[in-house]
Symmetry: D2
Subunit: 361 residues, 4 copies
Amino acid sequence: MLAFESSLASAQAEEGLIPQSSAALIASTGAKLEFDVDALVAEAKRSATLVVPFVAELRAAVARSDAGAAKHVHFGATTQDVLDTAMALCLKPCLEEADRSLEGAIRALARRALEHRATPMLGRTLMQPAVAMSAGVKIARWAHALAGDRERLGEAQAVGLAVQCGGPIGTQQGLGGRGLVVRRHVARRLGLADAPSWQAHRNPWIDLLDRIGLVVLTAGKIARDVALLMQPEVGEMRESPPQEGVGASSAMPHKRNPVACAHALAAATRMPGLLATLHASAVSEHERALGGWQAELALVPEIVSALGSSLDFLDTLAASLVVDAARMKANLDAHGAPGTLVPGEEGTMEELLAGLNPYLT
Amino acid sequence: MLAFESSLASAQAEEGLIPQSSAALIASTGAKLEFDVDALVAEAKRSATLVVPFVAELRAAVARSDAGAAKHVHFGATTQDVLDTAMALCLKPCLEEADRSLEGAIRALARRALEHRATPMLGRTLMQPAVAMSAGVKIARWAHALAGDRERLGEAQAVGLAVQCGGPIGTQQGLGGRGLVVRRHVARRLGLADAPSWQAHRNPWIDLLDRIGLVVLTAGKIARDVALLMQPEVGEMRESPPQEGVGASSAMPHKRNPVACAHALAAATRMPGLLATLHASAVSEHERALGGWQAELALVPEIVSALGSSLDFLDTLAASLVVDAARMKANLDAHGAPGTLVPGEEGTMEELLAGLNPYLT
Amino acid sequence: MLAFESSLASAQAEEGLIPQSSAALIASTGAKLEFDVDALVAEAKRSATLVVPFVAELRAAVARSDAGAAKHVHFGATTQDVLDTAMALCLKPCLEEADRSLEGAIRALARRALEHRATPMLGRTLMQPAVAMSAGVKIARWAHALAGDRERLGEAQAVGLAVQCGGPIGTQQGLGGRGLVVRRHVARRLGLADAPSWQAHRNPWIDLLDRIGLVVLTAGKIARDVALLMQPEVGEMRESPPQEGVGASSAMPHKRNPVACAHALAAATRMPGLLATLHASAVSEHERALGGWQAELALVPEIVSALGSSLDFLDTLAASLVVDAARMKANLDAHGAPGTLVPGEEGTMEELLAGLNPYLT
Amino acid sequence: MLAFESSLASAQAEEGLIPQSSAALIASTGAKLEFDVDALVAEAKRSATLVVPFVAELRAAVARSDAGAAKHVHFGATTQDVLDTAMALCLKPCLEEADRSLEGAIRALARRALEHRATPMLGRTLMQPAVAMSAGVKIARWAHALAGDRERLGEAQAVGLAVQCGGPIGTQQGLGGRGLVVRRHVARRLGLADAPSWQAHRNPWIDLLDRIGLVVLTAGKIARDVALLMQPEVGEMRESPPQEGVGASSAMPHKRNPVACAHALAAATRMPGLLATLHASAVSEHERALGGWQAELALVPEIVSALGSSLDFLDTLAASLVVDAARMKANLDAHGAPGTLVPGEEGTMEELLAGLNPYLT
């Protein structure tokens, strides 16, 4: 929130809307301001927004140095400018970390797929044995799905991670025709995309969050597979080799629970409801919603937390997935239909690997 | 969580399963134990449950006094026993507060309904004028709906706010046939209902949370009405008289936003997605879920926070709802269909008031 | 819809609001009226309600016999009266069938639980082996959960399956003070509960549909268990013995898919989203919603269809669940922790059976 | 479904996998085959898929001409190949119609925006008056949002509307290395994208449906605005001029309900729950889901029906939106804050129009 206010002031100073000295004071005051968060939150309840007490406090702090400059705090801006931009700024490093995690997981899984391209295992449909496949194809499909998700996420991020800077109703009222230039400056300073005010038409942002959802669903699907294969009666994969303390149970010392899978499956269970709320919030009233947008504020941290659980799972899998080729062979022999024990997948692996080529070099 | 562990130990001591001295030591140690919450959370990630490091720490603290007693910490219990019971214990005072808030709001609204039983206003359907009604009937319906919600919530609470105390798979394994008695003691000590282990069949609990949802939806519906009536072009009601700082805008000093409505509408926007996750979590695997139940842990605080927003709104409404009878009359005259300007609601008000009778004395 | 209109006319005739001859004509005309459903639906689009063309057609048919009586068609009623009552009337036999199905499934499962009270099997948590339990406890828990759901559904049905009969804004405008009596008559004739108009405060109805949801979730949880146990590597249960054509695959002649489980799991997957829409629809505007209530009309048939899939599954399970005690023993020996191979569940089975007592006689 | 089977047979004949005569017979038999749909549906319940009886019937019909050719029906294919491809084929013309509708609506709204670029109206936030804007900016934002949705939908469609053709587990087992070529032929014949088997990793398809959701949400947001402006106390817009029979009420002859808005708002109310189910369905098991994918089959028609309602609304708006500049001026004068009655939106309109340029020529 401070980054937004100081970038805004700098941009406005650059365009001559406020003095350079005010912009400098706003930035330096903000940099050393310490907030009593509990007091801020309590006060925020009265206006249904954190921004009202936040701006009041920043303005008061600036006024202690220069009463004139205080009027330039939050100049031409509104609540949602601060909060939407702050949300985008908070999301940005999460998405950068997600991108690195995804890339690492895809690379690791692609290598494991290659390693197991000739490891036969039972393909299963409707939770019953079907015909033989290779473990390589199964793992390559996971990697391929993640690679598609990563690409889609990147595309949506380039558009949806945008500055919000429109003033009361998104028309940059009061900036004397310099509004678009100011907004462009703010976007550049903050490393966000520049875009028309999106306070009430939020689909590029929603599309970005939807695509975070796709990552979480893929991780959940992979975790479902791994958890099923980790059942000791099946025993074909493990999320990691047994480690002291990992997956421990408070009741049964002998147990090793699939905890990474648990995180990914919990995240995937939560995501449909989180996105449903996001979508419901989008049917807003006029130039700024009553209730819908506010619901979103509670939502985005939950979406990011679900994403984090999914990435933790993928990190674990990338580092330590265990494949038991002997059990795969034994289960295939025991439960495969006669005449279908050899993977008949000519072309399938090549096609997947072609898609994964950037991750295999 | 400590309340569960010390109640469990006491109950087990009462039944001769562990020494009284162990139970006393567990209780006294727990009472003064201070946790490094960040460390606990970090460690919890490895087992996907807070209970593993929590019990380890409690056990270590007890062991510093008496190594033998340490073996009696968490005896016969499991992770979900602690967490489900702790959730129920945390929810209990919230529901008690909700009950008081609801009762107060219903009383206040019932009185306002009586006061306005002869105040004509426009009834509206599909957001268009219909025929005349009294403001009293409109408000009485709100109160009547809340009274029904309160009753349903009370019923569900009596059953759904239950102790969880079943050990590894809910069969009280290892308590030598004293399991049910121990559970009954624990329930009594904690003020919770006694019930068969509900770790994997959770419908009484889900029913309780669903009914919290009904309260939130009713509050949202009332807020929708009030927000529509607060539009200055309509001007028939306000959530409260103008007050310095309440509903302030960071951009427009003249504005007074319907902030209580915003809270209630945001809560009602969130609730369908929260309950959807709750319901999805219920399709669990075997004797304890992988992923589903864990998702619920993130959910219950969100559900309670939404309930809190709704109750705040109802408190505001109870204290300060403004009814503008003159504007009601003017809008009715301007937009009511000829011949339908007099409320024709014989019997309707009486029926609602009969239902509200307990709140009017 | 015809049942509502003719019951309404009869009740109004009984109270002297319209002539007996009109009521008789409305009933007899309706009984033989044939609708061109496609034309009705097409015409309904213009008013966003099926009731407008439906009433127009009924009125025209009555007018062909007696122009005066035509004015008594739909007298004092509105669109939502017809549709909500019709929904309740359609739901009624579905719930009666559900009740019979549930009773049958609970009886059958309770008997199977008794039969297997001494059949040891592996209890499983987080999809990993835990300690021993009896197959009887597992099955008794299913039955116990269903018995609770059945009871809750019955309670909600007694209140929530109510007549809707309130006229334009639910105040029985135009019935000269006879509105409540007329409504009571209509309710009695149709076999529905009598209740204040619930056009905009629908929580008893929502509570009923929520509780249908609980049945579907329990069936989904049972299906999840059965599907996991049907994996040939586990092999402890089957939804039914192999039968020609049941569970056939279009690609693999050897397969027998768990089709009853598929139905129940698909239903349980759908239910959270269906209820989320129901809940979102509840935040209505004024005396009748714009959009919310209309969404519900598409929803209720979907909810009933999901319930039907769940009941089909329970019927199958009741008729043909296969338990393989030998495989249970073998898996327990292979994967149970040493020292926990005997079910330690003293009291658990007795408690469940006590709850199931009405179903065991 | 027949289109898939005959395209598959043709492609296989082209690659020499089956005789040309078989392919020709399958196509000609399919073209004149008449199904007893009720019987098909009843039979489908036993296998939980329509494809089993469908293929049986097609095969029997082919066998009546040539027993040898019957073996080439559905050769190398599986249930989900037929159904996923059929879903994509059914969705294709809907999306083409959506594209035309969207283009028309955007063009019409862009023109209306230009027309009203100097029509002042009240901007509103949190359902309270804010500052002045032009009606042109409001309408241009609607058009701009729809243009973004249309573009996103087009992108997702190019990838997500793909053939499914993978056999039992998506590896084209049994096609002797010709599987990928056959799939490419089938895709080309059917006008669908060619893509690796997506039976268990469905994110391109989900992304496409998510983006249908974005259209529905934008239409819902616009309908929310229009419905609020249609309130007679506000009176600034109407979805269409009054027309005989449109928006008629069964109870109140004087009413004209905003029926197009009702359709769009009902659709937007349904969409979050529909997508939540879609997302929940995605966490599938192994090579083909048990329950999840099957739930999707009930879902896609609902999503398309919601889209249809939204497009109907947009068609109405494009054809007949009424703007009342005088009421806008009067409300602005009455409720705008002093000193903010002139739209201060330099640059905003230009930016929106630049985005809308392709629609204005």
